[in-house]
Symmetry: D3
Subunit: 129 residues, 6 copies
């Protein structure tokens, strides 16, 4: 039986990007289902469910962080979708990533922009904003 943290986390994950979230959980099923549980419980059940910072701002922070990390393209893709799903405009996403040039240089921003391009194409096909 799942904890309250898990249930709250799953709801929050669905609010950000349910479909992509399910794919991550599915991909961990065989090898490390506990990591999928932690992912739902801690980032989504604990952190994203906190008061004090609205969900759109959390997604702005996530896109910034994942751009700067440089080695997290799948997670950046997830949160670009997520940011758009919770109210960011495409232009805002682009602005965040351009801004990251300041903190992490051009390579991190250019590589993030390739992910942006992929996401925008997926959403164009699906008729999403």
């Amino acid at each position: 039986m799942h904890s309250d943290r898990y249930k709250r986390g799953l709801d929050k994950l669905k609010e950000v990007d349910g479909e992509a979230g399910e794919r991550v959980i599915e991909s961990l099923k065989d090898v490390a289902p506990d990591l999928a549980d932690y992912l739902i419980e801690f980032p989504f059940g604990d952190i994203f469910s906190r008061q004090g910072l609205d969900l759109k701002s959390r997604e702005i922070a996530a896109v910034a962080a994942l751009t700067v990390l440089g080695h997290a393209a799948p997670q950046l893709k997830f949160h670009i979708h997520g940011a758009l799903n919770v109210g960011c405009s495409r232009q805002e996403i682009i602005e965040i990533i351009i801004q990251m040039v300041i903190y992490a240089g051009f390579p991190a921003a250019l590589n993030a922009m390739s992910v942006v391009k992929e996401v925008f194409q997926e959403r164009d096909k699906a008729g999403m904003h």
Copy 2:
């Protein structure tokens, strides 16, 4: 004579944190004044002066990015002040940094929290929010 980018950048820098900005520029005066010029022109004159993302959101993105980097305490300090100066609450700063545990682990967040503590103490002394 300074370019328009420089003037626009200096205005924007003052809007974020003029006093701290001056200290950075002053510290570069002897060794690399051109780097101070680039700092004013590019991050502040070009990027922070762009439309498409409000200044508070830019500061949220900066605090997130600099927390995740891990090696940028002086710049993180600058942007925690900056974020508070342009409308973030203390609670929002704390929330952003707690969220960074997800992307960069506990060490990055814990070390950023030491910087937060320093900033809050400085602002308490100065009677700032």
Copy 3:
């Protein structure tokens, strides 16, 4: 009232390095007590309390990871103490850090060795192995 995860985490934290753990929790009390709670619940209550990898091996993995990160001296210090507390020899600590030259180069290993030196001196003074 604290959760089972918290209680289990606090016990595990005490097993690794109770005194240092208390200092971290204390230092977060004013600014971000929730981050202290997460630190006890997630790394110690959830992860370090898992079966499948013994505590000494977990500390070896922690020392390796924190050496490679490069920006986590306070956490590395904590886990060098922790590794020694749960059964690593001083020589094993040194071996792990020398090995990290392979993955992260000499600077990361040399800087970690400064932390090792500090820890050994503290333990010499306290008459600990």
Copy 4:
């Protein structure tokens, strides 16, 4: 004629993962054979041949370090095979990588888990533990 360090390194490399090691050496043959020599001599001939930390613990440290680095998938793959070859269980590998969430966040651990999955599938096909 090869040095003692080279011979000792080649033996140690074969103990960890001879087949994968040969592929790396082969791939460097045209462009930088000296780098292949250094790889055999320094990490394997010097470091992995040292006393003071058993080979299984060295592989635990390697998997931890390479997970945290985030940009070293081919080397992580090599050392997951290596860890399994020198006595780690599959569960232990998974535990190390889940633990890395603490130090480097979820993206590093999730991306490492994709490498784990690949390794396990290769070993399933080959009938290896």
Copy 5:
């Protein structure tokens, strides 16, 4: 109308690697043309156009930096071509990357060497040194 910085940058970019530069600019056209402008103006128009360090030395520094970053393969590829275009020998490129083992470990150098191999093959086909 483009600024002097843009024109100077475009000239410098062509001096380093015009064809690859055009592909980057083209790829940003739809999603973030402004980032392409910044890329021409700031790194090439401002920095690479400075006196005080010759172009070959700048390319040596770029190859070193991008090897160490670890997450910047496309940009490393660009600057290996660039370094060769402005007067580095193939041997010098290999030497820089082998040297990076010291600062960032074997994984960063080995992964950079895969990019070198790709570049050399492209240039062999094109009959370039």
Copy 6:
């Protein structure tokens, strides 16, 4: 008895910065003298003693790499001294570090410039160029 690699390394180390090198070796004497040996043998005895890239270019590459790493201030300090000792001008050092803004952003370059300032002051006092 020391190997040829050690002797060659010690000579090369002295050529780069003998005094600072001795301090590093001294500081490792109690805790990890083997790491000091490796430092002399591998980076200096093997790599810096190679043909194919002149010593000044190697120091340019080192300063670039260590600036970008962000967590290697002591090693950056060593190599700024080293670069100046083997023929770089102060202006060239400043140029390399300003250039690193492109690959690693402003924080890495600004923090490296603090190290530059320290080195220049030390050399001013000692009457060195």
